[in-house]
């Protein structure tokens, strides 16, 4: 689901927040309805765990309920919600043992001294339609995303997963626009390289059939 927030949505949401701040509890229902899925999806993509994502969603909804009156409107309400969700998800992850991240540098393209590609590139992009329907593929992809270094992972999940704009992600993470773009690009390069062996093999398995 794409979530590029336009001006009207932003204003409508902020009107709901003001109503809730003024004591209208039904406005809270609507706020919770708008954000529940976004909070859950973001948290699930970060923690990869249903119970954790459920805990985080509940915690964030409670924070919104208790702290909405402290929201000043300096940045967008949605940015505030995303930031609370990220913090709560990171708290969950901190308490767990983590697989070490793979070095991102090793998975970037390699070039010769004139800047030409050195890797042999096999084009496996044809016949990928059936990939999405395979649970196996989904697991392989989720695992690869999981192995992204933290800085790149959060940008990738917000930009490509949540469908937020570069500007929005820069606001949420308090990063410059070039920093968001560079992390997103590195994440995509990492994922392409990481997933290539699987898709190459998948292609040859299909051919044999």
């Amino acid at each position: 689901m794409s979530f590029t927030q336009n001006k009207e949505t932003k204003e409508a949401e902020e009107a709901l927040v003001r109503e809730f701040q003024a004591g209208n509890l039904d406005a809270y229902d609507k706020i919770a309805e708008i954000y529940q899925k976004k909070i859950y999806a973001l948290s699930f993509n970060l923690t990869r765990n249903q119970m954790d994502a459920q805990d985080v969603t509940q915690e964030v909804l409670l924070t919104l309920f208790k702290k909405a009156h402290t929201f000043q409107g300096k940045s967008a309400f949605s940015s505030w919600v995303y930031r609370i969700t990220l913090n709560a998800s990171y708290m969950k992850l901190r308490s767990k043992k983590k697989e070490p991240n793979v070095s991102l540098e090793d998975l970037l393209p390699s070039y010769n001294s004139s800047g030409y590609q050195q890797d042999k590139i096999q084009d496996w992009s044809e016949n990928t339609e059936s990939f999405l329907f395979a649970n196996e593929t989904r697991e392989v992809i989720q695992k690869a995303v999981d192995q992204l270094p933290e800085k790149e992972k959060v940008v990738f999940i917000l930009r490509d997963g949540e469908g937020l704009s570069t500007e929005k992600v820069s606001d949420i993470l308090e990063l410059t626009i070039p920093a968001v773009k560079s992390r997103l690009h590195r994440a995509r390069l990492f994922l392409r390289k990481k997933l290539s062996p699987y898709f190459e093999e998948y292609g040859s398995r299909r051919e044999k059939k």
Binding site: L25, F44, L61, Q142, V145, I157, G161, K181, R188, L195
Partner: protein, 80 residues
């Protein structure tokens, strides 16, 4: 003509439509003469979109939706 590195460094911006016309044309020109970069472009596009679709498939399970509804109602009651 730009080299592979310059081309691949700009690939995300190229696909996201963030490049100006000149830079975009430079990439197009490079692709015309560089099959490895075309293969890179195709696989980059495909892996990016498969990852994107996978992340977007997350749905809130019904049991969680129900729990959240109860939780919200409870909060409102406590306050009301």
């Amino acid at each position: 003509m730009i080299c592979c590195k310059e081309c691949l460094d700009m690939l995300s911006e190229y696909l996201d439509g963030d490049l100006d016309a000149k830079a975009s044309a430079d990439l197009d020109e490079h692709f015309q003469d560089c099959p490895p970069c075309i293969a890179f472009l195709n696989t980059f596009k495909t892996s990016t979109s498969l990852c994107r679709e996978t992340l977007r498939q997350v749905d809130v399970p019904e049991v969680v939706q129900k729990k959240m509804k109860e939780f919200i109602d409870q909060q409102k009651q406590n306050k009301g």
